[in-house]
Symmetry: C2
Subunit: 210 residues, 2 copies
């Protein structure tokens, strides 16, 4: 019995980030699926949770929180997890890396955006696939270049997994799902191998959350 409830969808990248963070923090939670394919995100009960009609939403400490990175910061600040480094320069770098993915790749590839592209172009699934592959690759190529930095360690920043890694791994899942070409991005792959070894990441994987 736990009072932490995650309203999520197994394939949602933003939900996947929060699952990783909850696992890293050792917070037990109950999942309530919001079926995005069936349109449950547009139901009144869910719009009361989040008027944007997006997942995730998290019930914790008597609060209802939305926006994945705001949730991750809340967990970090209330549980002292160290998801960000302690020095301001390192914090800024880690946040910038997280935002490359969470602000510049993921929203453009959000299912409702891509559905609109398919509708406007009349290009159907082929238009979706091309759009996804393009924006995901372009963003991850920039991310790879940003990892060419002395502060990169076993993880995106140093040797401890943090918020940038929580964003990267779900984005890589999405890249594979859509067939984006990223095999040449060596620094990213090295970090992924490290993350894939961690139970917090393994248990958060969409196949485990399905």
């Amino acid at each position: 019995m736990t009072d932490v409830v995650l309203y999520d969808y197994w394939r949602s990248s933003a939900s996947y980030r929060v699952r990783i963070a909850l696992n890293m923090a050792g917070i037990g939670y109950r999942s309530v699926a919001v079926d995005l394919v069936a349109g449950e995100q547009r139901s009144e009960p869910h719009l009361d949770r989040n008027p944007q009609g997006y997942v995730p939403a998290l019930e914790i400490d008597g609060l209802l929180l939305t926006q994945s990175l705001a949730i991750v910061d809340y967990i970090d600040e209330t549980r002292g997890c160290g998801f960000l480094p302690e020095d301001p320069a390192g914090r800024a770098r880690t946040r910038a890396l997280a935002h490359v993915i969470a602000m510049d790749i993921h929203p453009v590839c959000n299912s409702n955006v891509v559905a609109r592209v398919a509708e406007l172009t009349g290009g159907g699934d082929a238009a979706k696939v091309e759009w996804m592959r393009d924006f995901i690759r372009k963003g991850l190529v920039a991310f790879e270049r940003l990892l060419d930095h002395p502060a990169t360690g076993r993880f995106c920043h140093g040797d401890r997994p943090g918020v940038a890694d929580f964003c990267l791994v779900p984005q890589l899942y999405n890249a594979e799902r859509w067939g984006a070409q990223i095999a040449d991005l060596g620094r990213i792959h090295a970090i992924r191998i490290e993350c894939d070894r961690l139970q917090a990441f393994i248990r958060a994987h969409p196949d485990a959350a399905r």
Copy 2:
């Protein structure tokens, strides 16, 4: 003479956020224009600053920072500005509001995304306008509903301007520029009137930064 340099573009929402934050913090800075219309963001000198080819980038304290909200957090953390409330619940709410705009509206309306839509649909400027109006209105309607909350004050959270306001005002500038219909969003307009009175916001306006 100052050693703080902002690489920006007058019309960029993300740059506008950072200009507000720098002004609020009382940090003098020198602007270097990166002309997005002329494609300067894809020049090697700028890609060395930010491999994504986006503005803003900020030189400060011997660092080169990217990603507008990571920059705002850095300024806040190093100068103790109070851009976020002190309580974790308030911080989470303020960040979530900021992210509704910075993650879910702005990136989808980024000039390179909208240019792609126009190209794919062959719809030219009309396709751009429709796309912008649609996503901006949809996002701001959700934002308005999130403002229906006891913590909303003269500003998005309480009576002190913060990071959510820094995101909101540039988004409203964009909404007007593209003719998005938002006249019915009363809470948003009330906050805008408060922000429009502040020198930090006035001096950051695109017309002042041009």
